[in-house]
Amino acid sequence: MDVEAKRIMALSISKLYSLRTQRGGLSLHRGLLLSMTMRAARDIYHTAQLLRDAEEEQVVPCVPDAAIEELMEISKDSPQTSTPKEVAMKPQEPKETLEDDKENRCASERHSRKRRCKTAVEPDFLPLKEAKMDTDEEKQHLQGEVLRTNNGNSCRQAETLTAFPTNRAIVAC
């Protein structure tokens, strides 16, 4: 069961990865389904892993096998490399992460990359600029006036197609 879970988890992550390069832009629906499946598989796998670790703890110190490590790297990579798509919203971050990508080649440094979710990374000096960018982008984008009686209640700030919960899914890895 956990072998299957691991396979599905890996499959889901690679599909999420390739989703970004699809023509027509990222499909929110497909991304959501993929991330849900990945999380379900991940949960099963981790539960099985924990049970197995608990059983084996006095035998051998736990060594993560190579496949899992590769998986972790892929899953850590995807939120970073997906951020270039959020160009309009956060102009600073894509530059940072792309540079990181080039500079950090060795596995240990990749593990140490701190970015897990959007909020964790936002540098203090940026927020003002981002807020302004959000409004401008929003106005530019919505040329056609959209009339609503409930004005602006449903958060139009972050209009990013990539902002579906892969980040949260990967956090626990």
Binding site: L28, G144, T149
Partner: protein, 447 residues
């Protein structure tokens, strides 16, 4: 000829096939939507290349009653072109996601076609006469020398070869951030809705520079997103009512009289999940790919990956009927996830009198589900059964165990041959079935 009676008493026979014969399919030719107009005289298809092809039913040949009227090309035009959103560095596909016809009001025909971002209203009109004999101009358009004009003549209309013109009358832009999955014309013939993954907008057919947002399910924090809108449709008679389906297998019915913003539904249709069927892929297969009201407006039909469900609008806690489309795929979900087939969005349709429903499957199979007789049949759209008026033989899939003669085993099914789009003539037993790049037209066998 009746209004489309029982699917199993009816024998279906091949009528026509449209599209290229060779197996090497060009991506642009892949059919992405099929729709009859309200009279059934016109049949529109949209493809991945952004083109719309409209076929017209020829007026019946009275001398040959056996020979049912055929559909021939009436008009072809490029509806959408690929675009590039520079702000987001994203390409916008020209693929036509949906076509919806407007009811006919005058000599011209109108349809709405949409890609991921932009909806267009097209006017299709005929020209079979042209004015000839201008007083001041030659036939080729050049002005005559004024000195040579000594008499007065008035131009007269003379017949010409029929010309069908398609012109874009309205372009509805910038209404959607996410990908448009549905459009639906209201019964008031003045408004229509368009739905994307998170929002539904109400438009007036005459007004292109603004729309009214009626549903918005975007969460404050996108990381909390758990479901998206997958399809939406207006009620056929009640102009205040529409439904939308979700990726979680629920359908919400909204009444625009209740409030301007319909985030709160009037009815929620949801069937509790069968715990014995739980798997990694439960979420995916419960996602609804299509929702269609019955013509009488009392029922609605939903299609998810493995089944078709008929819901009574007065009963929210479960469907009144459930039909398995291809249950033999349940044990293959992992492979279907690997090859991405599990994400295929099948559509479904009703016949004219709501007694039979139809939906597609793999291997170019499609299913006719007879509600009144509680029977179903699997038919195939293939080049092998393309002889004129050849009756389609029912097909059977062997789920396991010993394969009988004439049965096909699940592992032999061709998952690249999928029928996602089908349409049923509103009055007659004529169906249009789209394979990857061919459109098959089948008709009821006339004795």
């Amino acid at each position: 000829m009746g209004a489309g009676g029982g699917g199993n008493d009816v024998q279906w026979c091949f009528s026509q096939v449209k599209g290229a014969i060779d197996d090497d399919v060009a991506e642009a030719d892949i059919i992405s939507t099929v729709e009859f107009n309200h009279s059934g005289e016109l049949l529109a298809t949209g493809d991945k290349g952004g083109r719309v092809v409209i076929f017209q039913q020829e007026t019946e040949n009275k001398s040959q009653p056996q020979c049912r009227s055929e559909y021939n090309v009436y008009s072809t035009f490029q509806s959408h072109e690929p675009e590039f959103d520079y702000l987001k560095s994203l390409e916008i596909e020209e693929k036509i996601n949906k076509i919806r016809w407007l009811p006919q009001k005058n000599a011209a025909q109108f349809l709405l076609s949409t890609n991921d971002k932009t909806i267009k209203l097209w006017k299709i009109s005929e020209r079979d006469k042209r004015p000839e004999g201008y007083n001041l101009k030659e036939e080729d358009g050049r002005y005559r020398d004024a000195a040579t004009i000594t008499t007065l003549r008035v131009p007269v209309f003379r017949p010409m070869d029929l010309m069908v013109e398609a012109s874009p009358r309205r372009v509805f832009v910038n209404g959607h951030t996410y990908h448009i999955n549905s459009i639906s014309v209201n019964s008031d013939n003045e408004t229509y809705l368009s739905a994307d993954d998170l929002r539904i907008n109400l438009w007036h057919l005459e007004i292109t520079d603004r729309s009214f947002n009626v549903v918005d399910i975007k969460p404050a924090n996108m990381e909390e997103l758990t479901e998206v809108i997958t399809a939406a449709e207006f009620h056929p008679h009640q102009c205040n009512t529409f439904v939308y389906s979700s990726s979680k297998g629920t359908i919400r019915l909204c009444d625009m009289r209740a409030s301007a913003l319909c985030d709160k539904h009037s009815k929620l249709f949801e069937e509790p999940e069968d715990p014995s069927n739980r798997s990694f892929f439960s979420e995916i297969i419960s996602s609804i790919s299509d929702v269609k009201f019955s013509h009488n407006g009392r029922y609605m039909m939903t299609r998810d990956y493995l089944s078709v469900k008929i819901w009574d609008l007065n009963m929210e806690n479960r469907p009144v009927e459930t039909y398995q489309v291809h249950e033999y795929l349940r044990s293959k979900l992992c492979s279907l996830y690997e090859n991405d087939c599990i994400f295929d969005k099948f559509e479904c349709c009703w016949n004219g009198n709501d007694s039979v429903v139809m939906t597609g499957s793999y291997n170019n199979f499609f299913r006719m589900l007879d509600r009144s007789q509680r029977r179903d049949v699997t038919l195939e759209a293939s080049r092998e059964s393309c002889k004129a008026r050849q009756v389609l033989k029912p097909r059977r899939v062997c789920a396991g165990g010993k394969r009988k003669k004439d049965e096909i085993s699940v592992d032999s099914l061709d998952f690249n041959k999928k029928i996602l789009h089908t349409a049923w003539h509103p009055q007659e037993n004529i169906i249009a079935v789209a394979t990857t790049n061919n459109l098959y037209i089948f008709q009821e066998k006339v004795n």
